[in-house]
């Protein structure tokens, strides 16, 4: 059997195991639904998420407002739907940034090696021992609030994580026969890294990255909840909960629905993660 056919068969097997794993399948369906809702938000939101209506302030859930209204009479359902866009955008873009920079850093450190390489990885290990939230708070306190800065902040926090992930495989792959042959025929270092090393680590990095989108969303929500992320009136799940906390006794729906949205999103991503782990770790296969 040719190499290619073997790979296709392996992939088919992975996919079949994944399909059989109900947890992962349910997680995928939920997250796809959430992505669809985020994309369709402008068309399916019953109201403008920023439109204030003093007459219908703090109304509990009803037919007109299925999730109630907030302190400015804005429709909570519409705000939750638009908040989905913000959360997913911040989660995906920040992880994308962390992935690009971190993977490049780890690959370079692994490929070039030497004292510089191991110094970088020492620093990475130190940074890794810090809670995501505390590093995030430090960077955001320096940069200030705003969506762009928030994406940058969370991206930076994930750089050491991707660097660590890319470093190990790079060390192993750079010793392979085909990398040596490439060097012998005069392929440049940059091209070796981008065309020979990177495609081989991409799979692992992408899987981890997908799962870390969940952590990034949690971080965004936490920072916005602390008032350090995206400021009102832009609706995000975190800042909606922040304003809702003050009215917990009179209008609990203000914090409950955005909170459930965060939980559902992160949970579905983690379900996929658990499923993937069952597939890739045959020891634990059911």
């Amino acid at each position: 059997m040719s190499e290619g056919a073997k790979r296709v068969r392996e992939k088919g097997k992975l996919w079949r195991t994944f399909k059989k794993n109900r947890t992962a399948l349910v997680g995928s369906v939920i997250i796809l639904t959430i992505i669809a809702l985020a994309l369709l938000a402008p068309w399916i939101s019953p109201y403008d998420p920023l439109e204030q209506n003093i007459r219908s302030r703090l109304k509990s859930p009803s037919q007109a407002h299925p999730l109630g209204t907030d302190e400015f009479g804005r429709d909570v359902l519409s705000r939750v739907l638009w908040g989905t866009r913000v959360s997913l955008t911040v989660g995906i873009l920040s992880i994308g940034l962390g992935l690009l920079v971190g993977t490049a850093m780890g690959t370079i450190a692994g490929y070039r090696g030497g004292i510089a390489g191991s110094m970088i990885m020492r620093l990475v290990d130190v940074l890794l021992s810090f809670p995501v939230l505390i590093s995030g708070i430090l960077v955001v306190a320096i940069l200030g609030p705003g969506m762009g800065k928030l994406i940058f902040t969370i991206g930076i926090v994930f750089v050491p994580r991707f660097a660590r992930l890319a470093y190990g495989p790079t060390l192993a792959i750079k010793e392979r026969e085909y990398v040596y042959s490439a060097r012998v025929i005069g392929v440049g270092n940059l091209r070796i890294m981008t065309h020979y090393l990177f495609p081989n680590i991409l799979g692992e990095v992408l899987v981890a990255g997908t799962l870390w989108v969940g952590t990034a969303i949690l971080t965004e929500a936490s920072l916005s909840f602390l008032g350090l992320g995206i400021s009102p009136p832009t609706p995000t799940w975190g800042n909606m909960i922040k304003t809702g906390v003050d009215r917990l006794t009179t209008a609990p729906w203000l914090s409950i629905f955005p909170g459930l949205s965060i939980l559902t999103t992160v949970l579905s991503i983690n379900m996929i993660g658990d499923g993937l782990r069952d597939v890739t770790d045959p020891k634990l296969r059911i």
């Binding site: 939230l133 505390i134 008032g227 350090l228 609990p252 409950i256 965060i262 992160v266 949970l267 634990l284």
Partner: protein, 313 residues
């Protein structure tokens, strides 16, 4: 063991130095500098310069750094920009609250999580296993502040059992514990979820090892196989992960302190950011750094103690 411990303690020193240095220089990269951060963008050039002079920011960076490190070694964390009071005593006042919350939550996580993990591993794929897995997956997916809010709604607002905010008097045991229940429950449930998951998967791994098969083959009773042979080995990775989770816990304690208006390091830090008190922020960050490095040290030491193989690496 003593040699291992000394070596490990010595390694922590450069790590701590690196982090503290990083914090110092990061704080100096604030757009416009710390003085502008305090006074706002519209402050006149003269006021900014006056404050910079007063704070010693007009001196060369390396001089400032040397002074900062020198003070740190002597336990001096500087003075707050807002009220001019020394920061170290304030940290000393709030730190016990944070440590107390972290300790009780971690303890709750271990006491509940380890047995739950063993239980679900032994009943793999039974209904109770599915339920345990679903709940623990939800536990690691929920934001700490939202879990706190939900618990608050149930126990404080509806049942009126526990106070919504504050920490009570630290030295009055009854009052203190009464205020500690809700925050501990929040972080403790999260820790339980994390530890249950780790214990379960570690236990499943160990149960497939050769030595477990050998123990069964030679006719040992199942209880002895599980608690005498499997569990002891399964707990080794759990201890390493408890360290990782303790650090996640420290991060989440910030959110819980804010939700329950509980004094602590996190609340102090957020307050400092809101007031643009960059000196306090810097000092609290340094204290967090010390805490994280210390936890990592403890984990490594306990790891070396439990698994003698580690020491000879």
């Amino acid at each position: 063991m003593i040699q291992f411990a000394i070596r490990r303690i010595l390694i922590s020193i450069p790590i701590l130095l690196t982090v503290v240095t990083l914090i110092f220089f990061l704080m100096r990269t604030m757009p416009g500098g710390p003085a502008v951060a305090v006074l706002g963008d519209y402050a006149s050039k003269e006021t900014v310069e006056a404050l910079e002079k007063q704070m010693g920011l007009d001196r060369p960076l390396l001089v400032q750094y040397a002074e900062f490190m020198g003070n740190l070694v002597r336990g001096d964390l500087g003075r707050s920009i807002i009220n001019g009071r020394p920061i170290a005593p304030e940290v000393g006042r709030v730190l016990p609250y944070t440590l107390q919350l972290a300790a009780t939550s971690l303890l709750m996580g271990i006491i509940l999580g380890v047995p739950l993990g063993i239980f679900t591993a032994l009943r793999r794929n039974a209904f109770s296993d599915y339920l345990g897995r679903t709940l623990s997956l939800a536990g690691v997916s929920i934001p700490a502040f939202f879990l706190g809010i939900l618990l608050m709604l149930v126990f404080s607002v509806h049942l009126d059992l526990f106070p919504v905010m504050g920490a009570g008097n630290l030295w009055d045991l009854r009052d203190n514990l009464y205020h500690l229940v809700m925050p501990t429950l929040t972080l403790g449930l999260m820790m339980t979820a994390y530890i249950t998951r780790t214990t379960r998967s570690s236990m499943l791994n160990v149960l497939q090892e050769e030595f477990v098969r050998t123990a069964r083959a030679k006719g040992l009773r199942e209880r002895i196989v599980i608690y005498g042979h499997a569990l002891r080995n399964a707990l080794i990775p759990v201890i390493a992960f408890v360290g990782v989770y303790a650090i996640i816990l420290i991060g989440n304690s910030i959110l819980v302190e804010i939700v329950f208006s509980r004094p602590g390091l996190g609340k102090m830090m957020i307050g400092a950011i809101k007031q643009r008190d960059y000196m306090t922020l810097q000092s609290v960050m340094v204290v967090y750094a010390g805490l994280v490095v210390f936890i990592n040290l403890l984990v490594d030491l306990s790891y070396g103690w439990i698994d003698p193989r580690i020491k000879y690496e």
